[in-house]
């Protein structure tokens, strides 16, 4: 999948471009990092990928590109980078999820923490049982992306995204016994 930007808005002044990039960074940095972590990247890898993506976006905006669909573009870039890194490291999406369940912050009673950890464990197991596209659709949806944006990121039809999300949610509900 190509990362080329089909963005067409006219260029504006450099200061506006910088503020656009800053706004996007503040708005999307955490969702991008979380998405990458859920895909299985280490925290350091995720930071590197997000930083590279924003650097590229900044250069694009400086060159006069638009930011209309920068949100889905950023997710698409980091998604492809995550896949490249996982292929390079010969890792699978499901591998690191188990390790990260222990990073749940201590913000409740011990009983609440145990229950929460168990819930997350069940969720992880259910996520691992999904197909790659189902998992990716769900994770992107969890970061607030609309179906149209998910279709941009994953290169799927919007109707396919809707069907995939619906199927994945049903599977999760069944596996987690909610």
């Amino acid at each position: 999948m190509s990362d080329s930007l089909p963005l067409t808005l006219p260029a504006s002044c450099g200061t506006t471009r910088r503020s656009e990039a800053t706004t996007l960074f503040q708005e999307l940095r955490k969702p991008l990092l979380r998405y990458l972590a859920c895909l299985g990247l280490s925290a350091d890898d995720a930071q590197d990928v997000v930083q590279d993506a924003f650097l590229t976006l900044h250069q694009h905006l400086q060159a006069g590109g638009a930011k209309e669909n920068a949100r889905s573009w950023l997710f698409r870039v980091v998604h492809n980078q995550a896949r490249n890194r996982q292929n390079r490291y010969e890792r699978r999406y499901s591998a690191p999820l188990d390790e990260q369940a222990d990073q749940i912050p201590d913000d409740g009673t011990p009983e609440q923490m145990v229950l929460r950890k168990e819930k997350f464990k069940r969720l992880e197991t259910a996520l691992e049982a999904l197909s790659a596209s189902e998992r990716e659709c769900l994770l992107l949806r969890s970061q607030g992306l609309r179906y149209r944006e998910i279709s941009d990121v994953l290169g799927m039809a919007i109707s396919t995204v809707g069907e995939t999300v619906d199927r994945a949610i049903r599977k999760l509900a069944e596996k987690c016994n909610v």
Binding site: R29, D44, A101, Q103, L172
Partner: protein, 183 residues
């Protein structure tokens, strides 16, 4: 299974066209099965968002902050260099033995200018303090202990080997002694 069940997730996500969403909303008031499914899907979606929010600390904990260790390492490296570089003893100028024949006297009086200007100091100059005097007191002022992890880059110290460096700093700021000891 209700015929509307395939649209519930899309309705929950606000992805249905306005008319369809309105119709489904009315349907949910009458269909208990769909209402329960929507509740389950909403719950699982919230759990997933909660999970994604906590799956990774946003600020990397695995990436160490090198500020303090780097400063400590730089300090330790500087002290080690100061200790390891051998101090060259003060060069002594060999004084030639006194010659039997006295050196010819130079007539300084003749060479000096005749017109001398007398400089009157309104304030007598203070005696110059010799910094060398501090060097006479080389008793250690304080001692610092630097762990091996701060002296060497990560991975340089083999696992299982743990030691610290005790460095005594003199009053003049120079390192007096360096002692490695296990702990």
């Amino acid at each position: 299974m209700c015929e509307h069940s395939t649209k519930l997730v899309a309705w929950l996500d606000g992805e249905l066209p306005a008319d369809d969403a309105s119709n489904l909303g009315q349907h949910l008031n009458n269909c208990r099965e769909c209402a329960e499914r929507v509740s389950v899907y909403r719950q699982i979606s919230d759990d997933l968002k909660d999970y994604c929010g906590h799956v990774m600390p946003v600020e990397s904990k695995s990436r160490p902050h090198w500020g303090v260790p780097a400063a400590a390492g730089a300090l330790a490296a500087g002290l080690l260099i100061m200790l390891l570089i051998p101090r060259t003893p003060p060069t002594t100028i060999a004084v030639p033995p006194a010659s039997a024949t006295p050196a010819p006297e130079v007539a300084f009086e003749k060479a000096a200018p005749k017109m001398t200007r007398k400089v009157v100091r309104r304030h007598p100059a203070k005696p110059v303090q010799r910094h060398d005097a501090l060097r006479q007191f080389s008793e250690p002022e304080f001692q610092i202990t630097i762990p091996a992890e701060a002296l060497f880059p990560p991975g340089a110290v083999p696992e299982g080997v743990r030691f610290v460096a005790d460095v005594s700093i003199g009053a003049d700021g120079t390192a007096q002694t360096l002692q490695l000891r296990p702990y």
